[in-house]
């Protein structure tokens, strides 16, 4: 018997998830939650096999990491709305086993639950397609620091001062970053940094953190190739 728990901010959506789970043989709903605190407590004590999280602003990477650190860890499925591909590639990196879209069909939900319960990974095809169009770019510690400062909106002179280097060196770093990530100006680079901060949030592992920067940029930034914009 697979025990499934659900977290959703919307009671009606939770009822929908519950109905889908009720229709799968061998699945049992162990409860629905609309707050993360009680959910985490439940995961620790009741140990559900499968956990479905609907993405809300409260669900940060730290929350996901905590949920996955439970012993034994539940197989985690996330239902994401308009989350950027950068975020999705990071949650998969954390060990999330299934990704559903807000607009995924009921059949896809059933399929995802069954596959993940059987130990396979399952990503909604539409989201998977977007992920395939996402590049992962490795950054050096200094580059991450600089991107963090850029994301704060600092000027070159201010960045130079914060990093203890000259303004010329900042420019050298910047032009190398433009080529590396394929951004054509600092605005585009800063936006990319922000989208990865969104994903990174307060969730960069301890050893990767740079306390002098409020924005933490992960070691790998992801960049979704925007087909629609290029046209």
């Amino acid at each position: 018997m697979t025990n499934v728990s659900i977290y959703s901010a919307s009671p009606v959506a939770a009822a929908g998830f519950a109905a889908i789970i009720g229709g799968i043989e061998g699945f049992r709903l162990s409860g629905t939650w609309s707050a993360l605190g009680p959910l985490e407590e439940h995961v620790r004590t009741e140990r559900p096999d499968l956990l479905l999280l609907e993405l809300t602003p409260a669900v940060t990477l730290d929350v996901i990491r905590r949920l996955l650190s439970a012993v034994p860890a539940p197989a985690l499925i996330l239902s994401v709305g308009a989350a950027p591909a950068e975020f999705i590639s990071q949650i998969l990196g954390l060990g999330v086993r299934g990704v559903l879209g807000r607009n995924s069909s009921v059949e896809f939900h059933t399929k995802c639950f069954c596959e993940v319960a059987a130990g396979t990974m399952w990503v909604d095809p539409e989201i998977g397609r977007r992920l395939l169009l996402t590049d992962r770019i490795a950054l050096t510690p200094r580059e991450r620091q600089l991107m963090g400062l850029l994301a704060q909106g600092l000027r070159n002179k201010e960045i130079a001062w914060s990093m203890g280097i000259s303004e010329g060196t900042v420019k050298v770093y910047l032009s190398r970053l433009f080529t590396k990530v394929g951004a054509s100006d600092r605005f585009e680079l800063a936006l990319l940094a922000l989208r990865n901060v969104v994903a990174g949030g307060a969730s960069v592992p301890e050893r990767d953190r740079d306390r002098s920067v409020p924005f933490q940029i992960p070691r790998f930034v992801s960049r979704e190739r925007a087909e629609s914009v290029a046209r």
């Binding site: 919307s10 009671p11 109905a19 602003p57 709305g81 607009n103 800063a190 969104v198 960069v204 306390r211």
Partner: protein
């Protein structure tokens, strides 16, 4: 199962799971019945014309501007169908615009299922129903020093946030690049934000897409 007098409810939602949830909810109400679930406003309009349900439930994620145009069209068509709009977050200003356009019920997706049922029953009876707390809630954005942006300016801000250039924004909105610049100038003046980068940052922050919580 449903009595012949049950009022049919049409659901227009971007999330199939919510349609499923609502369907289950309606099955437990003798006076309401499920008339169908679709995910496009155009299809909903056609279904209203042909089947004239008592209520149509609209998902705000379909886009507030599109919904408002659609509601106006619905009022002009003089149908008897009452529209209820629900979304994850609805501000007072948005609720007002929706009601002015002809929506009869407004509530949040976080509402308890029985409230949604109450809402549907109320609009069927001819009254208007708004969830407690949508009006009169202190809104973060109503700062007297920051005049409201026009809907067009909001669109420009949105596109800037996606990283589009002026020329691309112009093409997207079907206006001249020069007009985009004028919009931007007004946006900068109204918001006091410095440069398009700051604008994008502010936009993301307001959407709750990024948090500045330090570690």
């Amino acid at each position: 199962m449903n009595s012949p007098a049950a009022s049919p409810v049409l659901i227009c939602d971007t999330q199939p799971v919510s349609i499923e949830g609502l369907k289950g909810l309606l099955e437990n109400c003798a006076d309401l019945c499920y008339a169908g679930g679709i995910c496009s406003l155009a299809a909903a309009f056609d279904m209203i014309q042909s089947a004239s349900p008592a209520v149509v439930v609209i998902d705000k994620a379909l886009g507030i501007s599109a919904i408002i145009d659609w509601l106006r069209r619905l009022s002009a068509a003089e149908t008897k169908t009452a529209a209820v709009v629900w979304g994850l977050g609805i501000t007072e200003a948005e609720a007002l615009r929706l009601l002015q356009a002809g929506a009869r019920g407004v509530l949040r997706r976080t509402a308890r299922p029985d409230l949604l049922i109450t809402c549907m029953r109320t609009v069927i009876s001819g009254a208007t129903w708004i969830e407690d707390g949508i009006f009169g809630e202190p809104e973060k954005r109503t700062d007297p020093r920051r005049p409201q942006l026009t809907p067009r300016e909001h669109e420009v801000v949105e596109l800037v946030g996606q990283g589009l250039r002026n020329r691309e924004i112009a093409r997207r909105l079907g206006i001249q690049a020069g007009t985009v610049k004028i919009h931007l100038k007004h946006i900068f003046e109204k918001t006091g934000v410095r440069g398009r980068y700051g604008l994008a940052l502010n936009g993301l922050r307001e959407k709750g897409a990024i948090s500045l919580t330090t570690i």
